[in-house]
């Protein structure tokens, strides 16, 4: 587990960034088809579900993580739980790669071959995954600065025309369209399972500066939920009921898109931010899946490369376009994916809790005997 350690602040930053990347690209457009102007309510429900999963994942980390599970229950239980989660991660990574490729093609390389972009993205993601948790943590810290840059440039140059009235009436069509939209995108719900393979440690520099007590995780996880709901509200205020025709939400809503010049518009900061977080998110998935294979005494870099090959084959040759990836992700597979994402962390938590309680009882018994 030597390359699984990440500081608490880096962990919290990952929690903040992970939801926003693949939930704010094509998803608003897909949600709009059913929920219309109420997509922000769907997102609120999604984020509440995400935070529930996160709470379990964090609790498992505090109980020693999946390694503790392996130590206490042996390999059979460990693999029974981690193999399904690994398969889910791989499938999700493949669909997300297809989404990333489509995004990069649309905004950066409109004359490059699709497969070339996707493969290069996965190579970069694999490299970061091989570098381990430390690399992921550092990278996520480095890209954080793009947010204030985005806000400052947006405030200086942006001319976003928002119509708050677009949000009204709230829930006028009842709960059914919201429920349908939620059901449709179940595949994109619960993305924190790769974090089961990370171990948090205190940040030495923060301890030295006596700032280690700041509750990074609660603050940033709640901020992430609020941030997502606010982004969806802005989306509705901006596009009204035309939300379903928007290709990629983040770039379109990025205030920079409205910095028009006579020969084009400046939209690079928004694109850079989205793409960086997408690659980090994919790296984390490769890292998680690689960890499961590596636990069977395979070298970790080799394990990540094997996962990357499967992701490339699925993402670039099976789901070679966004439509294929979406029709797959919105099929029955979504129920399998969310089922595994829910069951595995909860089961792991219950099993660890049982052991913890029994060892506590044993200790109490020994103390009582003494």
């Amino acid at each position: 587990m030597e390359n699984s350690y990440i500081t608490k602040r880096q962990y919290a930053l990952l929690v903040f960034f992970i939801p926003f990347v693949f939930k704010f690209s094509v998803l608003p457009s897909v949600l709009s088809l059913d929920a219309g102007r109420d997509i922000w309510i769907t997102m609120l429900l999604i984020m509440l579900t995400e935070l529930t999963q996160l709470a379990v994942v964090v609790k498992i980390d505090s109980m020693g993580g999946l390694e503790a599970l392996r130590d206490k229950y042996g390999n059979i239980v460990y693999y029974a739980l981690t193999v399904p989660i690994m398969l889910t991660i791989v499938i999700k990574a493949s669909v997300y790669t297809s989404e990333t490729t489509s995004y990069a093609n649309s905004y950066l390389f409109y004359n490059i071959t699709t497969r070339g972009v996707g493969i290069v993205v996965i190579i970069v993601a694999s490299y970061i995954a091989i570098k381990g948790a430390k690399g992921l943590g550092r990278l996520v810290e480095q890209i954080t600065w793009l947010i204030p840059v985005a806000i400052v440039i947006g405030l200086l140059f942006g001319k976003l025309k928002l119509k708050p009235d677009n949000v009204l009436p709230i829930g006028a069509k009842g709960i059914v369209p919201i429920a349908n939209s939620f059901d449709n995108v179940l595949f994109w719900v619960l993305d924190f399972s790769p974090m089961l393979f990370l171990k948090t440690i205190e940040d030495v520099s923060l301890v030295k500066r006596k700032r280690s007590r700041f509750p990074w995780l609660p603050v940033l996880s709640v901020a992430s939920a609020i941030f997502m709901v606010v982004l969806y509200l802005l989306y509705v205020m901006n596009y009204g009921q035309a939300g379903h025709v928007v290709n990629t939400a983040f770039s379109s809503l990025g205030a920079f898109n409205v910095v028009n010049t006579e020969i084009g518009s400046i939209d690079w900061p928004a694109i850079t931010l989205w793409l960086s977080v997408a690659i980090i998110s994919l790296s984390l998935k490769l890292f998680g899946a690689g960890k499961v294979i590596a636990s069977a005494k395979v070298k970790f870099p080799l394990a990540v490369i094997l996962v990357a090959i499967v992701v490339v084959v699925l993402g670039q040759f099976v789901f070679y376009n966004l439509e294929r990836a979406f029709s797959f992700a919105t099929s029955f597979v979504k129920y399998l994916a969310i089922g595994i994402e829910l069951l595995v962390p909860f089961t792991a938590y219950i099993l660890l809790d049982i052991k913890e309680r029994s060892s506590k009882k044993r200790e109490e018994k020994i103390e009582a005997t003494i």
């Binding site: 905004y107 004359n111 070339g116 596009y239 290709n247 020969i263």
Partner: protein, 383 residues
Amino acid sequence: MKRQYKWIAFLICFILMFALGVEITPLSERAIVAGLGIDYDNGVFTISAQILLPSSDDSKTSNIVVSSAKGETIGEALAKISSESSMLVATSHCNLVLLGEGTLNGKAYSSLDYMIRNAYLSENALILTTEGTAKDILNAKTAYSDMTSFYIQRELMVYGNYKEAVHRNIKEYLSSYYTENSANWLTKVRKVETEKPQTGGSTSAGSSSGSGSDDKVYVLDFARCAIIKGDNFVFDGNEDVISGINLLTSTLDKGDVVISDGEYTYCFYIVKSKSKLSYKPENFTAKASLKVDILLKEIVSSSNETLPFSVIDVEPDSKVDGLLKEYFNNVITRAFEECKSHEVDIFDLYGGFYGKMGRKWIDYSKNYLEKSVLLVDTEITYY
């Protein structure tokens, strides 16, 4: 050991980039489209692209051409332009789309399908309609610029929103299209012949081709608008209609208002205008609150009297103030009533009433436009 991974990853990326075919088209082989005109007639699109051609010598100047091609789809016509010019047509820098008159009848939305599906044409690109064909406008030789596309963008986008000319982009057009009543509007650009300005120097840009190559020069006028409902053109709005729409749907920061009390004629300048709509769906009433910051620019007497001038003359008397408020109220009301008479809910009162009343509105809304009243309350601040 760890460094090896970095170099291996780097090397694989490079090999793949070349092996999988990265097309790198040099700038000199790209036709950079600055403005796109879409005309439609008898099932055929005529696409006109105003193109910047990089100069082959070192003079650092660009040539400008308007290239046109016909096709059943916009993509097909653009491909023809590419093939004829033997250059890759690049629309990634296109910030202007002109829909010709023929396009507005049933093809306004479907002609935008190409732009919606292809993200590299920005949704923030300006969209206008034209009097006559879009091709004709792109070919017009304007008095103040060698390139029509840049002239229009400068006029509408760079110098801010005028009372008579407001920019509207593809995103805003689509947003209106998908409202419940699908009322929409587009600024109409028309060319007006003017005298050729006498200039002392020469311009560096190249020449325009097509019908604009004669000696006539034009200025472009934006004080008209096409009112559209769904996919159908409804009527041509005059200066009053477009001023009313602009005042209520945009933040203006330019434009003159001239009023007369019989004795004197006053010219005011709009520094800033903002508006807000509130709704009372129960009695089908909407109230527009307009706030205008205004500057007194000039007073002209109808007699030969010389007016005593004072630098502190800022606020006119209550009579003129009343006339000014009446002017703004009337402009907005007239725009609303004119559109209402054509069964177009131009200010989307349906959406406002629905937002306020919720689900009940759907049953309550029968013949709502007929019953709807728009009240306007103007507040003026003198600078």
